[in-house]
């Protein structure tokens, strides 16, 4: 039933996609060095920059095609089933969706090519975790053998991948907003942070992205924003979070150090990228729009899961750790959406809720599957 040769092909394609993505990520970040930013935040690439950007997009798209082939062959190799029957396949398919969301939504629809390095990095991290969770291609265990796996799991995967992109936007929003505030409080410019955090300003200036007119005079050079922030904490905090999380879940020091190193690199890159990032209000808007898109899908995933549980286990909700995890993730994302319409919670506070909600999503996915015994534990094997 298992086609070993095809499974081998799938693994080779996975590795090829992995390497191509890393190349794309490096190009996306490298392009920043060839980008000019005007005081108004308008970016323009030099000829070299444009070429590197073109290469980055090409590599990302090529990697995506190879990755898609890997996922499809895996499904065929495992006996013609959906390619998300265990955590390795789930992580791989989720990374595939992250790149797709990045290319279609972030780069094409919103035009924020400078964020793509971070999006591809998220996909690469996801694929690294897939390698840690590698399982040979095999048929599904009976409990998973239902058409609900197509509905419930794909919805959960789709929503998660969009939440990952939303998190990248949220984290970068917090960085950019901090930088803008620092500049506003230290420079002689009259306090324009352009952030959603400054929705109500004393001088009744129009809000956020509408406030385009006159920005030139009000905003310091975006490079000044970077200078206001010390680059020390940027690599440290993400590295610490990732190392602790990896050690707790996998108890494997070597992957923890590598993952921590990657997180540190991303942290310092987010500092380096400050001048090139879209203004805070735009990042906040991207974070909100993606989260608002993923939230109904996540809601649907939980509902479909409840219906499946009713069919498979004879109860729609049993507070199994996975159910509980998906529930608190849902509650936190609901809190994020509510906080956006609560006075005094908009902007940074809402964004922090978004960060916590994302951590909850990661805990629900990794820690609950691998660490806690429950009905979803088989997903790890």
């Amino acid at each position: 039933m298992v086609n070993e040769q095809l499974a081998g092909t799938s693994n080779a394609l996975f590795n090829a996609a992995f390497v191509t993505y890393i190349g794309a990520m490096v190009c996306y970040f490298f392009r920043l060095a060839f980008t000019k930013v005007s005081a108004r935040g308008v970016t323009s690439s030099t000829t070299t920059g444009a070429r590197i950007g073109w290469l980055a997009t090409t590599l990302a798209m090529a990697g995506w095609g190879v990755h898609l082939a890997s996922v499809v062959t895996r499904g065929i190799a495992a006996g013609g089933r959906v390619p998300w029957g265990n955590m390795y396949e789930y992580s791989s398919t989720m990374a595939l969706l992250v790149v797709a969301v990045g290319l279609v939504v972030v780069q094409r629809r919103f035009g924020y090519g400078h964020l793509m390095g971070f999006v591809i990095a998220a996909a690469v991290l996801m694929m690294t975790s897939a390698l840690l969770l590698f399982a040979e291609a095999g048929p599904l265990v009976p409990a998973l053998n239902s058409y609900w796996i197509k509905i419930h799991t794909s919805a959960a995967m789709g929503a998660s991948s969009i939440f990952i992109v939303a998190f990248a936007a949220t984290a970068l929003y917090l960085v950019k907003d901090t930088a803008e505030r620092r500049v506003a409080s230290t420079s002689t410019f009259s306090g324009s942070t352009v952030g959603a955090g400054s929705i109500v300003e004393a001088d009744n200036r129009p809000v956020g992205y509408e406030a385009d007119g006159g920005l030139e005079e009000r905003v310091a050079s975006p490079f000044a924003q970077r200078d206001t922030l010390s680059p020390v904490l940027f690599p440290l905090v993400p590295a610490l979070v990732v190392v602790v999380f990896t050690l707790l879940v996998w108890r494997a020091p070597a992957p923890a150090i590598i993952a921590g190193g990657v997180a540190a690199l991303l942290g310092i890159l987010s500092w380096y990228a400050i001048p090139y990032l879209p203004v805070a209000a735009k990042l906040d808007n991207l974070a909100y729009r993606t989260t608002a898109f993923a939230f109904p899908i996540w809601t649907f995933a939980i509902m479909a899961g409840a219906i499946w549980a009713e069919e498979a286990w004879g109860r729609y909700w049993g507070w199994d750790p996975k159910e509980t995890g998906s529930f608190f993730t849902w509650v936190l994302y609901a809190a994020y959406l509510h906080s956006r319409s609560t006075y005094g919670w908009r902007g940074r506070r809402a964004a922090w809720i978004g960060v916590v909600a994302f951590l909850a999503l990661m805990v629900t996915y990794y820690a609950v599957n691998l660490f806690v015994v429950g009905l979803h534990s088989y997903a790890g094997t």
Binding site: P296, R315, H338, V373
Partner: protein, 523 residues
């Protein structure tokens, strides 16, 4: 003293801080509590507490889900230790979702929800009935444009009405008396949000009905045997508050056959119970399959495939042929082998008769190679049953699962390794133990869950409300038509109450639609 003060000084504002603060009475307290609960930030706080409770319940084992792990935590075998377990017990952390504080949290959330919703219903009822308001000073709006058309004002506005499909439209006149079409859309944003939030009451009703009138039970049946759907027929049951013993359907379910097949990696590929249901004297369901994800429904009772295992038939008799024990013993999987214990005689302290029990270990198909157990297959192709006979004070009278009883080495009175049909003598030939056969057992979860339809309806309402509440935006558009030459000049203006940047693009599209509808050329 205020009485001693001259009258003119009394009217002066008092300096703060020398009077006791007013202590609110019960009514004021209630009003304050209600106001506090109605605040959005309170709702957020309650949501965080709900999430925190759920996080705790994920990492602390929950008694209704995995009672065994909780018992281990309490005994200090697993988890952070006995002391912590006592703290957890005091805070009901082993049953978060059944605890009083979680109930309180849920009630507070629903009060908060009610407090938020009532004024919103009232406001929405008003807004939803109101016709789009007439626009004033349209040319001062950021988004406005003019078009010229050969149509007369009336005809132009009629065409505009068609072009603004999807909007709520009204013919009116501006303050200056110019004919105007006022249009508005996006009421579903608030309406959807109301539907979404209201759906949680429906969800609650469905859950309460399910818990009140529902019933869940578990039963293990050995091949060829049967159980009857009565309170006594099940090994464990969770009846709802209003479930009555008479609500059982009274059918008898016989397990005709159980089949399991494995993948090469010893993971079960499929397992299937074949059952026959008799009601009274009639076989109402004959040879029906039950497998995972495919339950059998009979008279509103759903029968699910849950667990399975081997149930070796063990006979213990005296050399004279008196049977002391004859039963299939249900074994549960423990790695590659199957384990189980069973009482043989409960003993009698008065006569001094000892308690006797057996402990079984089944190797379905394996061999000892170089002192290591090697499993060839998870299927019972070459089964070996290790029988250990224990006698003495085994604690069989204690309300503890047999598997958890600590039996001592010196209580072990006989051991044998048997093939099917094999016998062994124990206690110096005073007992004969036989491994008669190896049927399988199948575990069913049986449940009656009314209110499922309500839950499904609630789920649909949640989604049906959520999507417009996130993707519908309030917009107002006006078209004014004033006579101009042979035709008329149209002034189109619009304002967005949500998601303003996107409206600029939408406004361009509206202008194009209007131009096409009125055959106009743009300025």
């Amino acid at each position: 003293m205020t009485e001693t003060l001259p009258p003119q000084e009394r009217t002066e504002p008092r300096p703060g801080g020398f009077r006791l603060p007013e202590i609110p009475g019960p009514f004021e307290t209630a009003v304050m509590a209600w106001r506090w609960l109605r605040r959005m930030s309170t709702a957020l706080l309650l949501l965080f507490m709900l999430a925190a409770a759920a996080v705790l319940a994920t990492f602390v084992p929950q008694e209704p889900v995995i009672a065994r792990t909780v018992a281990e935590w309490r005994a200090g075998v697993a988890g952070p230790g006995e002391g912590w377990a006592r703290v957890f017990d005091a805070l009901s952390l082993f049953d978060v979702f059944g605890s009083w504080w979680f109930m309180t949290l849920t009630v507070l959330l629903f009060i908060s929800l009610t407090g938020c919703l009532i004024p919103r219903y009232a406001a929405f009822a008003k807004v939803a009935r109101r016709q789009p308001p007439a626009g004033r000073n349209l040319e001062r709006l950021e988004l406005h444009t003019t078009l010229e058309t050969a149509l007369g004002p009336d005809e132009a506005l009629a065409a505009a009405k068609k072009a603004l499909k999807g909007y709520r439209r009204r013919r009116t006149t501006s303050a200056e008396g110019t004919p105007q079409l006022a249009a508005e859309r996006g009421h579903w944003r608030e309406g959807g949000s109301l539907v979404f939030h209201t759906a949680f009451y429906v969800l609650l009703i469905g859950i309460v009905i399910g818990h009140s009138f529902g019933w869940t039970g578990q039963v293990n049946v050995v091949e060829g045997e049967a159980f009857t759907d009565t309170t006594l027929g099940y090994q464990a049951e969770v009846p709802g508050r209003f479930w009555d013993a008479g609500d059982h359907r009274g059918f008898t379910l016989r397990l005709d056959d159980f089949d399991v097949s494995y993948h090469e990696n010893f993971v079960p590929a499929d397992f299937l119970s074949t059952v026959t249901i008799t009601q009274g004297h009639d076989e109402v369901v004959r040879g029906a399959p039950i497998r995972v994800n495919h339950p059998l429904v009979y008279e509103g009772m759903k029968i699910y495939q849950a667990r399975f295992g081997y149930a070796p038939e063990v006979v213990i008799r005296t050399p004279e042929g008196t049977e002391l024990f004859r039963a299939p013993v249900t074994l549960v999987q423990s790695g590659p082998i199957w384990l189980g214990r069973e009482k043989v005689t409960p003993g009698n302290p008065a006569t001094g008769a000892p308690q006797i029990a057996v402990e079984l270990a089944l190797i379905p198909d394996g061999a000892i190679v170089d002192g290591q157990l090697r499993i060839n297959s998870p299927e019972a192709r070459n089964p070996r049953l290790a029988i250990s006979l224990y006698a003495g004070d085994l604690g069989l009278e204690r309300p503890v699962p047999l598997a958890n009883l600590p039996w001592r080495e010196d209580q072990l009175v006989g051991q044998a390794m048997l093939q099917p049909g094999g016998t062994a003598e124990m206690l110096q030939g005073n007992l004969i133990v036989e491994f008669e056969g190896l049927p399988m057992w199948s575990g069913f979860q049986v449940s009656h869950a009314p209110g499922r339809g309500i839950l499904l309806a609630a789920a649909i309402l949640v989604l049906a409300g959520l999507i417009p509440s996130l993707y519908s935006y309030r917009r107002r558009v006006w078209v004014e038509a004033s006579p101009h030459g042979g035709g008329s000049q149209l002034l189109l203006a619009g304002v967005a109450l949500h998601r303003k940047p996107a409206f600029a693009e939408e406004f361009t599209r509206i202008r194009d639609r209007l131009a096409t509808a009125t055959n106009a050329h743009k300025d």
